[in-house]
Symmetry: C2
Subunit: 758 residues, 2 copies
Amino acid sequence: MNDLWEFSVKDYIKEDNYKNGTLFNLANGYSGMRGYNEFSLYNNPGNYIAGIFDRSTAQVTELVNLPNPLLMNIYINGQKIDLDLNNVIDYQRILDMKNGILRNEFIVEVQKGMRVKVESERFVSRKNVHRWGSRYSVTSLDSQAFLVFESSIDGGTVNSQNNPKEVTKHYKVSSVHDLKQAIMMVVKTNDKKIEVAQASCLVMKERKFSKLKFNDLQCMVQQAGDIVAAKGETVVVYKFGSSYSSRESSNAGMDCKRELEAFIVEGYENELQKHSELWQGFWDGSDIKIQGNTQAQAALRFNIFHLSSCAYDKDQTVSIGAKGLHGEGYKGHVFWDTETFMLPFFIYTQPEVARALLMYRYNTLDGARRNAFMNGFSGAQYAWESADDGLETTPKWGYDYNNKPVRIWTGDIEVHISSDIVFSIFEYYRATEDKDFMFKYGSEIIFEVCRFWTGRTVYNKDKDLWEIKSVIGPDEFHEHVDNNFYTNYLVKWTFSKALELRQKMKDECPWELNRIENYLCLTEKDYAAWKRISDKILINKQQGTDIIEQFEGYFDLKDYEITSADENGMPQWPTGLDLSELNATKLIKQPDVIMLMLMMPQEFSEKELKANYEYYEKRTMHKSSLSPSMYSIMGMKVGDTHNAFSYFMKCINTDIKDNQGNSLMGLHAASSAGAWQTAVYGFGGFGIDSQGMACFSPWLAPDLQSIEFSVVYKNSRIKVFYDHKKVVITSERDMQVKVYSEVILLKSGIECEVKVNK
Amino acid sequence: MNDLWEFSVKDYIKEDNYKNGTLFNLANGYSGMRGYNEFSLYNNPGNYIAGIFDRSTAQVTELVNLPNPLLMNIYINGQKIDLDLNNVIDYQRILDMKNGILRNEFIVEVQKGMRVKVESERFVSRKNVHRWGSRYSVTSLDSQAFLVFESSIDGGTVNSQNNPKEVTKHYKVSSVHDLKQAIMMVVKTNDKKIEVAQASCLVMKERKFSKLKFNDLQCMVQQAGDIVAAKGETVVVYKFGSSYSSRESSNAGMDCKRELEAFIVEGYENELQKHSELWQGFWDGSDIKIQGNTQAQAALRFNIFHLSSCAYDKDQTVSIGAKGLHGEGYKGHVFWDTETFMLPFFIYTQPEVARALLMYRYNTLDGARRNAFMNGFSGAQYAWESADDGLETTPKWGYDYNNKPVRIWTGDIEVHISSDIVFSIFEYYRATEDKDFMFKYGSEIIFEVCRFWTGRTVYNKDKDLWEIKSVIGPDEFHEHVDNNFYTNYLVKWTFSKALELRQKMKDECPWELNRIENYLCLTEKDYAAWKRISDKILINKQQGTDIIEQFEGYFDLKDYEITSADENGMPQWPTGLDLSELNATKLIKQPDVIMLMLMMPQEFSEKELKANYEYYEKRTMHKSSLSPSMYSIMGMKVGDTHNAFSYFMKCINTDIKDNQGNSLMGLHAASSAGAWQTAVYGFGGFGIDSQGMACFSPWLAPDLQSIEFSVVYKNSRIKVFYDHKKVVITSERDMQVKVYSEVILLKSGIECEVKVNK
């Protein structure tokens, strides 16, 4: 254990408990438990099970904050251990990322001359996703102590706890149970009546409690055990936890109880051991090693840790929300963030997770069809914000600082997401050649999205071109724009790739194509329409310049120079700018044209990439946490490395340093994924060329010593190590790859060294 | 308004919120609401309705902590006003005792450069006991502000919140209601299914909220209103509250709703006005004015305020618990404290309240009969600790500092309480001549208590005397003692007064006597037994000394000198003392022999009073808050005034300075009453002589300028003013009184001046 594998906080500041809830979150893809601090009243507890959404009286459906089973009050001689009341002598909170364990260590003076040392740990099992556990070691340093451990499951949790305009409790406590050793609470969500059972149990190993008391407080259930400890004696108490929902069980209460019983019998240490092994196995395949910068190393792992903790390949009906399983930001909704930013990480490290995430889109295709239908289109229109069923869940209204309602248009017109999903399916397919997925599921999504676009594009007789009017591109500063380059280009690409796919299926598995054509009532007329639009959609490339206009009229907007940066190096608003008129300026929130170029660089010349990078980079405000990493990657592609490392550091510290000021609302999961992309696509120079060959053009920041990473491509893990002199590359299977434009034949398991191209 | 009528706290210390919950409690006899601080998470909220007790899983039945309707979160620009998080610039909490209003005034900086001023008040109506209200005036000092007022009724309250071994929730939330303007919660207690409805409503007067949102959180119901305020604009929000229970209503929910509606229609200011008038009317009759010491004046009023706030003459089925309606100490139980310490205050200021309190004993007579029956006796044995039905509710077990169980014997053998009640009935009767009460109700109690004593006393053939074995007297350091002087003397007195009463009833209302004799099956045999025991009960007065032995064998115990005092002037344990063997020492907890002498001074010679005072005072540890005031009074009686004023100051500051360290558990109500007794019985030298004449021998501490008080005696208010030179006395009716042994005939309304006897 060392600094390279730890994220830690050494000062106790009560206000930080809120963001630390996110930073010390533990998840296993099935559930996410925020880093609740048991020893403070200042918390925004969060306990989520992926896929459990509820609307009730809220504006939109949201990921339900379930009862909090983590409550643990420890009393010593009648005084509660409370970091805000006691004198804190020593304090440390550590996230052990290698093993997926959260640790607390502190000494407090509960009363004058009554010091107590507490060491605790918590894990949310990767082995059995329905289990979590914690351990408390308590030592009274100055005297004999009468200790009480009061463990509760709190059914009083709400969503938006600190936002009185939005506070909603999404469930009712149905019952609490005295399991005669353990306690259990069963709740039911308001709308869909999803039942969730949670149980927990206090256990001492060597000694036993003097007494264990059960307490039914209606919306809280408690168990309190007490014991007298000698001065200096360390009392160890285990808390076993389990949870089940009616999403995966026909009797959640019974399964929850059985799971807990099995957990107790198998033992805490045993479960923890298996959990750690799985985390270590994960790191074996997904770690990126950076030599030369300890902080960068630990911070990068922090991002990979949290991102991958949200994944669960066994459930194909859930995806990863923009805030992970880490908080209530964006209501737990799934955006293009998942496919565009996060999916590459999973495609190239855990393809089975990538498949599950894409299956979520397949399993919510009916919702997307319904969205299209509600908007007057056929086919499938993916929701800008998606929850459990794929229906559009973007709120229609938000509020500005003066509590004035502001119409939110993204759910209506940020339509590029449907093609983003198509794009990611092809990315997945290219890397995995998973025909089973592509022919059975991916194709159905792709064809239905094409069908949506045939309705959403409009024919302009004067221009003899197809247009897409009134959209929002990736840059959300500009709403209701026409012919956004990103959107139109991606739609054109979607149609042509769909037609290619159709041909491929005709050749390779006509029976699947036949089934889908029958089911979707697809005819040659449809394909002809796709071809027609693809050929003649307005692609806004102007003569005489390599710079692409982001959308029609963008070049006519008012130009502002970004000239100053804040203390974090982030751009500041130009002086004199009226924020309500951003729409009328060339300032952009995040990459738009550049985003497309990153997604399909082979479609553009190096000159185009460079010209557009230079043009747009200086007009980008980076008001999305997704932005810096993307510019970092493109910078490296076009040979502008001067910002690369600092953008990378910014990106990996997004949550660690709370750059956006809202880490308390959850993980910036796409930024975490952006960190991986910067390391692998940027520094590693990894890409797939138009012939489908894996390419690597590593670049190493001057201050670093070496980087090591691996990607899984076409079922073969390719490991890359490089320093300032050489690139060492190996593949599990025989494979041709390119390193700095040089084609190399890798022989299975044999290291191949290439001199660094300076 | 000035210091003489205010109790205030000017520093905000979060740890003090707990005891301030008691110090700023508001009650109207029907209900008591602890001084909950809405702007902190550190609180032990308490909301009690007199007479609502429940046992559930607790050791004994306890006063139920009902849902807390006082929750109010105020958000300014999204930031919660929180005294523990914000920078507190200015802070003041004031109890306006003249008008019965609690006020808060503070300025906090919620964020840098965002100061907000909050002024709030709260009252629990004396006019309509089912109503309470509060007002919040909020001013954003630095900028325009978006304000949200989030008002809740919290159904998550429990008893013993900070004691994990005893935490109990005594009710279940049955339902919450959106009253379309207001919110309501209905709960039901676990055992007796008493229903309690509480409603509240946020109202703005001039402006209206932009929006009022209802929120059902199952165990909490909320209402949130928001509004934008200009910089410097004071936004005023009223919170109306009402409560009803099924103890007094057949439809608590409906009555609660109607009460709230009527309250809103009649208006906040109107109710507050009437409430204030009632408090002022109360003070007209019950105030004690002390010139020359501001702190003493305010502190004495503090005690009178809190004591009288617990009284409610309309309900004859409840009494005042040892901790008032101010907290959960002693579980809300009623002890001898009420009759022996508190009742004199009510007898001589509000006889109608005294009658109601005695009626509680009448209405729980069946419980007392049951207690006697359970212990093998006939008649009525009053519970040492009494709740709603008069059954014994003293816990049998407590815990020492090492969590070792300790048997509590008071409920079994501290039997003097039954005669204490008889004594107080005669006291009440002597002062009021309320024959209706005495003949109909008092007599039944008295006769039943006599009957109990015939069983509890035992005849000792050798001595030819009746004895009372194995008791605890007022001094609880000594358990299982025989022939405690206090107890035996009072029992003798009880019998003889009962026989007198019987004779009186025979003469004055034989039909009532006849009814009672029939009902109680009382025969001449009973009376004869009373006479027999009364004549021959062991009264432990020894020849050759005026000092009375507290109980048999007391003089043989180990003697300890109290030689040192702590920083509060309270005695410290003599060195070398083993606290587990107090039983074997002469140290006493509180007056025992002296207590009896105070209750019936006319039965003892001045020499006896003095000798016993001197003997016992130096062996008294004052481990009861009732102790110092009693010694103060006796000191003045026997001419030892040197401790009188300092004991008085100690007594009036018991809670203000938290002398006993447990003010957070509730008011030391008997100590509050002791303050009144010290002022009136001690300083005022008020007493009734054996001929029933009111006597006054005022004594003025050298530092004071004057004292003014009044007592109601035989239906006539006697006002007394005195300074160092004269005593000025008036009576509403013609009346003979004694001033310094001089008999004076007061003519109705005419001032009479007597020179001070130095």
